[in-house]
Subunit: 161 residues, 2 copies
DNA sequence: CCAAACCCGACTATTTTAGTCGGGTTTTTA
DNA sequence: TAAAAACCCGACTAAAATAGTCGGGTTTGG
């Protein structure tokens, strides 16, 4: 599993899609504008996402893209592997380079690391990302209202004098 | 934390060093030969490893490199960050690219992923890699001796006829 | 003093990344 | 039915990163 900005762009774009698909298909032009990713680049990415059945396209005017499944059924791991194709993880896929004692020691290490990364990203869905963000926004506005209350109290107090 | 072949080479080389340092400093020429990594490339890597105080050098004939600490005190994470320098993890280190709602959502994700990877690799030391390998070799030779026993039994049985 | 080793900065070929370009095709709507 | 909005797609390309090489040092044991 490779980790590049391509994968990050794809996750960002999918998130934008997830947040807006309520009112029908979302256009790439819109995503491009909001997320500042070039249209042609998005076309490339969404071509792959469609082939991997993570999104569905609607052609013609009024068209765009929708998630192919519910946001809670799409993991970040899937998005990343869709756009950053395989290219084998541990390099020495049985061939060369692996030598002597050091061979299997590092080999196993990279395999385990890959499993770890993949496991982590498989546990994160678009829905869970959105949810986590909403929690944070909520806490933020709660804090804000507390601050406002305190300010009001202070002003009331001042006026009393 | 970046994961490149440079980091993998460094780990392999350090492992070679850990396994051989018992009889004094290990030369890069030796590591180069055993692990098939070019001498000049090793010099580059060990320059960085030395500056990060993971190895110590002994100059002049009979010289070479030693681990600067015990093998159980050197983690894979340290080796990798020593050779693959920083370059910020989450890209948008506060600047640009991060926009609107999608901003913090993906941002936090990459930060957490980095923490996960770093955590994993910080728990792996040179010593633990060697130990794990030895266990495996041991299990291997046990299996081998069982197979040999069975073969002997079979042959004895044949001779009885 | 010489050879074995480390030391180091500058250079370079290759690959990958990020993205453009120029053409399509499909479908809605006026 | 024509125009326009959208997707579709392969080929190309500039820039950056990677994975090294090269050519000179310096240090030190014998």
């Amino acid at each position: 599993m490779r980790l590049t900005t391509k994968g990050r762009f794809a996750v960002t774009a999918m998130l934008d899609l997830a947040l807006r698909q309520a009112n029908g298909p979302v256009t790439l032009a819109g995503i491009s504008e909001r997320q500042h990713i070039s249209l042609s680049y998005l076309e490339q990415l969404f071509g792959k996402l469609r082939r991997r059945a993570l999104v569905e396209s609607v052609r013609g005017p009024g068209g765009g893209y929708c998630l192919a499944r519910a946001a809670c059924e799409i993991t970040v791991a899937e998005i990343i592997t869709a756009v950053d194709e395989p290219i084998d993880a541990t390099q020495c896929g049985g061939r060369e380079n692996c030598r002597d004692e050091s061979r299997c020691m590092t080999h196993d290490l990279w395999t385990e690391l890959n499993t770890t990364i993949h496991g982590f990203l498989s546990n994160v869905t678009l829905a869970s990302l959105i949810e986590k963000q909403q929690e944070k926004t909520k806490r933020c506005s709660e804090t804000l209202s507390i601050v406002k209350d305190q300010r009001q109290n202070y002003l009331n107090h001042q006026n009393a004098h």
